[in-house]
Each structure stands twice: as C-alpha cells, then as structure tokens.
C-alpha cells in the first residue's frame, strides 16, 4: 500500500541461483593446457541443469549484534530460452511466505511478480537494480554479474596455479567487457573439481579489494562437486554473509504449475 511499501527484496533471484550453482558446483576434469577462458567455460558447463531445487540458509553477521538468519527455498526450471524461478521466504517471520516468481529470458525481457502475504495480493514489479542488496546481505545483483563465467562477457586471464586450502587451484582474473560495479574479479578454481573456491571483488579502480567470497565444505552431490558453504565479506565494514546450502537437487522433474501466478497467490499447484 502506499504507505506500506517495503518489499523483502527485488533482487533477480534467478541470478542468485546461477551464482550459487556457479560458486558451488564443479565437474571432475583433467587438467590440460588451460587458458582463463577455457577454465571458465568448464565451470559454466558445470552449472548447466534443466531444473534445480535449493534450500538455503543465509546468515548475516557484523560481529557486534545478534546474527540475522534468512531461510529461502527456491525452484528453477529452464524451458527454451526462459528460466523460471519461484522462491519462498521462510524466515524471518516478517517476510515468511513471501513468494517471488521470476521469468528470465535470454533477450532480457524479464518478468517478476511478488506475493505479499500480509496483503494476500500479487504485485508485478520491475526487475531489480543490480546494485541493490539481497535481503540486507553482502550479496548484490552486481556481485552476480561481475562473477560471470561466460567467455563473451569478460576477459579471463589465467594468472597462475597455486595451492589454496590444500587444493591446487587456477587463479583467473576476469575483467568485464562492459562497465560493471566492479573493475575486476580474481577467482580461485579447483583444477580437478572445477569448484570455485574463492573470489575477490575489486572496486572500479581495479586496485582496492572490496569483497571476498570464500567456499567451504566441498562435497560430492551425485556426479557434481559442490561447496555447501560460502561466505561473502565486505572488507571495509567486516560485515559478512554466509550462505549454507541445506539441500540441493538437480535435474528433477518439477511441475510447470509451480511457476505460475496462480501458485504465487495460493501456494498450491
């Protein structure tokens, strides 16, 4: 209502899924004569899934006050050039049962709706701004854009290969071809599992490190390697956000009825 304008988030949730998968998943591969682009291409291949279901817990911590916990469940289905994502907020109580439906198309004509349980009403909303914070966390839509692995969206350079957290990793520098919120990113990728182990986000001047994303608890899920915990830290404030993947299921059969405004309104298929 006019006056009750708060939305839990307007973030493009489909992209969150891509980020999480991109950060978390890798496939075993032999190490050949790699380039920055080829490594990123292999990581990108590892992201591909026709459908995906994730149960996620996000913990926000500033080291001073009580941690804040957000819990979301999300389903994603790719059909043709459209990726449909439905997300339910489970906690905190103030946003519980808020539901998002996003239809992201390759041509950029995205659709997004939100169901606000307090109003019992579905609202159509504009696609979110890239710089906006996701639920008050250290993750933004811009973060997701700057960690893109598509070879045609950034110039990727293999800087070196080194051991990180006991694993041999490629270190890739990525400089976006179009202007983004960050000047460059540096990514550590497991040479065997193709799991992203760490990302550094630099400001537009390409010099000052702004945020760091680290991955932990790497385990195999089926034929995929996956980091079940990721922590994003904003270095200037020390504020950090940990994402814990409680459950992840790939390529499962999801009814199309989940990805409709009717489900958004009723929570039923």
């Amino acid at each position: 209502m006019i006056i009750h304008t708060r939305k839990p988030s307007r973030t493009q949730l489909a992209t969150l899924i891509l980020l999480l998968v991109g950060m978390a998943v890798g496939l075993s591969a032999a190490e050949n004569q790699e380039t920055g682009a080829s490594v990123m291409e292999k990581v990108s291949l590892a992201q591909k899934a026709e459908s995906l279901a994730m149960d996620i817990q996000m913990t926000l911590a500033d080291g001073k006050s009580e941690d804040r916990v957000r819990r979301i469940q999300t389903l994603s289905l790719t059909e043709g050039d459209a990726t449909k994502t439905i997300t339910i907020f489970l906690t905190p109580a103030s946003v519980k049962n808020t539901r998002f439906l996003t239809i992201a198309r390759s041509n950029g004509n995205d659709d997004q709706w939100i169901f606000l349980p307090a109003l019992g009403k579905v609202k159509r909303i504009a696609a979110s701004e890239r710089g906006g914070s996701f639920m008050g966390s250290d993750f933004t839509y811009a973060d997701m854009a700057s960690t893109t692995y598509a070879t045609d969206e950034a110039a990727h350079t293999l800087l070196r290969t080194e051991t990180y957290q006991g694993r041999l990793c490629h270190v890739i520098e990525s400089i976006p071809l179009a202007a983004k919120d960050y000047g460059r990113t540096v990514t550590w990728i497991d040479t065997e599992r193709y799991v992203v182990m760490q990302v550094e986000f630099y400001q537009k001047d390409k010099q000052i490190l702004q945020k760091r994303l680290t991955a932990e608890d790497v385990r195999q899920a089926g034929n995929r390697w996956m980091a079940y915990k990721m922590t994003m830290t904003t270095l200037s404030s020390g504020h950090r956000t940990q994402i814990e993947i409680l459950q992840a299921k790939f390529d499962l059969t999801l009814p199309a009825a989940y990805f409709t405004v009717a489900f958004l309104e009723t929570g039923r298929i």
Binding site: I2, T5, A93, G120, R124, A126, L246
Partner: protein, 459 residues
C-alpha cells in the same frame, strides 16, 4: 470511554490466546516446498510430521501521544498492548484461516466483532481453481493501497487515516469462486449483505460539520443493509500480456458512503432564514461499477493505473438523496533508485461527478463536494529508505488534496532489534497548506496529530 474496562478485556484476551499459543506451539512450522525438500523440521528431526496447524502473527505494545503544544506534560497518552494472531489449518485440499486482531485503534468504543475478527474463512481447492467463503478482506486494483476499483470492503474511517490503509477495511462476509488457467484468472464474488463505510460524525475524527451531524437524531431512519435485497455481485478477470498485467472489474452493489434525506424548512421567523431542519433518513445508493486495472513494467519503472465508471441508480442525477454517476481514476509510478534499495511511489487519484452542474444543497453530491466542485484530486507519495542492511527503515508518506490543500503526513522509522523484534517511531500529522475555505477534512483533524512508539514481536 472506560479505559480500565478496555485494558481488562485486553488482558483477558491476551492470556487466553497466549494459552492457545503455548498449547499449539509444537504444531507450528514453516511453509515451503515440503514435497521437494520435506518438512523443514526434518533437518533437525527426521521424524517430525507435516503440521496441520500453523500459527503466526505479531504482538507488542504501543504508546500513543497526542502532543499538546501548550503544555507537553498535559498531552493525552494511550498505552495499550496489541496482537494479531493468524491460525491456518490445512487438510488435503481444504484450508481454513482465522485472523484475530486486537489493536489500540479497534479498542476504541464501540467495539464491533469485525474489529476483532479480521478474517474467518475456509477455502477448498479444485483442479480448476478454488472456492472460498467467510469473513474476508480482499484488495482489488493495482494501486498502492489507494484504489478506485476496490469495492468489496468498505473503509472504517472512525479513527482517521492510518498508515496501513488495508487495515482500515471492514471485513465482510462473501463467497468467491476463483477460476484459474495459466496466466489468467476469473474471480466471481457474492456478498449476501451490504456493509457500508463507518464514519465518525462526532468527536475528534468527525468528517462532517458538527451542525450537520446534530441533524441526525433518534427519529432518523437508517436503511437496513443486512437484507437479501442488499446482496451484491462482483467479478474480476485478470491476465498477463507481455510486460503488462491487466484486469477488468464489474460490481453490482452500492456506493459505500451514506446518502441523506434532508428536511428543509424555516429556521426562524425570518422567511429568509431557510435551511436543513433535520435528517429524516440515511440511505445508500445502488450502483454498478465498470472498471479496469493495469500494471506495466518499463525498465526500472512500474506504471500503475485504475479507472472506474460508477453508474448510479439515479441516472438522471435528479434525486437529491442518491449519489450521481461518476468517473474515478488513478495513475501512478513506482521506481527503485539505481544502486540502492530506495523505493519510491507516486500516485494521483481522483473522481468527477457527472451531472453536477446546478446541484446544490441538500443534494448529497453537493454536500460531499469540496467548494462546489464536481471533482476532487489527491496526490499520494511514499519513499522508503532501508539503511544499515535493512536494520533501519525510514519511510516518508503523505497525501495531499489538490483542491482543499489538506494533507496527511505519515512518517515513520523502524529499527529491527533482531529478526523478530522491531521498534517503530511513527507519526500522523494532519493539516492544510494555508487556510483553506471551506475547511477540508484534514484541516479539521489538525489538532489530532499523533506520535506513536511501538515495539512489535513477530512470530
């Protein structure tokens, strides 16, 4: 108003429902895709069954001060607890829901059961949609809170304007059938009787001149709207066309504001002093509403619109006791500032009464019009600024009546102490930009400014 009685009633109800909460607490659970992930409790206890009852709501305390500029220490204070309790039952394809609300606003006398029970409904799902019946509040239209095609619930204006405009709606008994197919939906609603709007005729929130209100006496007859002849029907169809959501609305019922049958006569022995001597009847105007609604996304902007034509039973505009036909409109835009989560919304709403020329008191259209104008327009704006990673939310909202220059400002600051506990400082400020003549409603409420501190726990 007997404060001690009110507080005792609140205490009893709070204890009663606290006991219910405690007894049912093990049954509460989170929602979600339980068919895919299982019950969320399974993560900690694999044997936990899917719950049948879910409880949620808020409770807290409110301190309201009406500042006395002459002597602040003499400012009247109201300190009351409040609670909203939602209980939902789910069994197969059937759902039931009740919403109990006890708030400082609704504890003002006289209390009606609609003030406490905001929803009691049951819903049955079918392959084609769902059937729903009960006491409900439903919102139609694409506008933010303010609508011109939202006829199902009348407003309770006995306590002025509150920030949550939806909270001003009066729950109403209705039966609805919802047919859904892909991106389209059709809703058919029957309301067995008519619930008119509630107005304050006397006291601090009076909307009418005291001299006019005094004409309503014990001999004034009031139309009984709880009869079968006051049944209403409404339909709303919606669909998605590319970047736009559009809908059509039809309503066969009544205009929610009361009409008056005013007796005119000599007010003194002077034959020139002629005026109203009494109100013989309060009655309601049967009307039909033909409306449309829409929302269109253009880049970072969301454009909103509503339009409605109220076709009155007084088609010629000759019946002084019934409202004329009118056109109502609303347009707005929402926008989120780039690189931030700052959300802004601006809306313009108004109406134009048809056949208004030549109307004069005691015609109800002339009575309701401001300064003899057939039209009235209002600007509504809101800005919400989340700070400190959404721990602090600043909201500035207001309404401005273009013709009367009356305004209502509704600023607030919310501080999240933790995920479920919130402290809010808010205010309601009424007045007019300059001395408007005649006096606008907001100017009449100029002395009703309120400052409120509220602590809320959500569960």
């Amino acid at each position: 108003m007997n404060t001690s009685i009110r507080i005792n009633l609140v205490n009893v109800l709070l204890v009663f429902f606290s006991l219910i909460l405690i007894s049912l607490a093990p049954l509460t659970a989170e929602a979600g895709f339980s068919d895919i992930f299982g019950s969320s409790e399974e993560l900690t206890s694999l044997s936990a069954p899917l719950p049948a009852i879910a409880l949620s709501g808020t409770l807290g305390a409110s301190l309201m001060v009406g500042p006395d500029s002459a002597d602040l220490l003499q400012s009247p204070v109201a300190a009351l607890p409040f609670m909203k309790l939602t209980m939902q039952w789910k069994a197969g394809q059937t759902e039931a829901k009740s919403l109990l609300e006890i708030s400082p606003r609704s504890m003002e006398a006289p209390i009606t059961w609609e003030d406490l029970l905001r929803e009691v409904s049951v819903r049955q799902y079918f392959s084609w949609g769902h059937l729903e019946a009960g006491l409900m509040i439903r919102e139609w239209g694409k506008g933010e809170g303010v609508h011109v095609v939202d006829p199902l619930n009348s407003l309770d204006q006995r306590y002025g304007i509150v920030p949550d405009l939806n909270a001003m709606k009066i729950p109403t008994m209705m039966v609805s059938v919802n047919l859904q197919r892909e991106a389209s939906a059709l809703e058919l609603v029957y309301l067995p009787f008519f619930q008119p709007m509630k107005l304050a005729l006397f006291g601090e929130w009076a909307v009418a001149d005291p001299q006019f209100a005094a004409l309503i006496t014990g001999t004034t007859s009031v139309e009984n709207t709880r009869t079968l002849s006051h049944g209403q029907f409404a339909a709303r169809g919606r669909t998605t066309l590319g970047p736009a959501d559009i809908g059509l609305v039809y309503y066969y019922g009544f205009q929610s504001q009361p009409g008056y049958e005013i007796a005119m006569g000599l007010l003194s022995l002077d034959p020139l002093v002629y005026g109203p001597t009494g109100i013989e009847a309060i009655l309601y105007t049967r009307s039909q509403l033909f409306g449309l609604e829409g929302a269109l996304v253009l880049g970072p902007f969301t454009l909103l619109w509503e339009g409605g034509f109220w076709l009155s039973e007084d088609t010629e505009g000759t019946d002084a006791t019934r409202y004329n036909s009118k056109v109502a409109y609303l347009g707005g835009v929402e926008y989120m500032l780039p690189g931030t989560s700052v959300f802004t919304s601006v809306q313009w709403s108004g109406h134009y009464v048809l056949g208004f020329d030549g109307l004069q008191f005691p015609d109800v259209d002339a009575l309701q019009a401001y300064d003899g104008k057939a039209y009235a327009n209002m600007l509504i704006a809101a800005v919400e600024i989340p700070l400190l990673r959404e721990r602090l939310n600043i909201r500035l909202a207001g309404m401005y009546q273009l013709e009367s220059r009356g305004y209502a400002l509704l600023p607030s600051i919310r501080w999240s102490l933790n995920d479920n506990l919130e402290l809010e400082l808010s205010s309601r400020i009424y007045g007019a930009a300059g001395a408007s003549t005649p006096e606008s409603i907001y100017q009449r409420w100029d002395g009703n400014d309120v400052l409120e501190i509220r602590m809320t726990h959500a569960f």
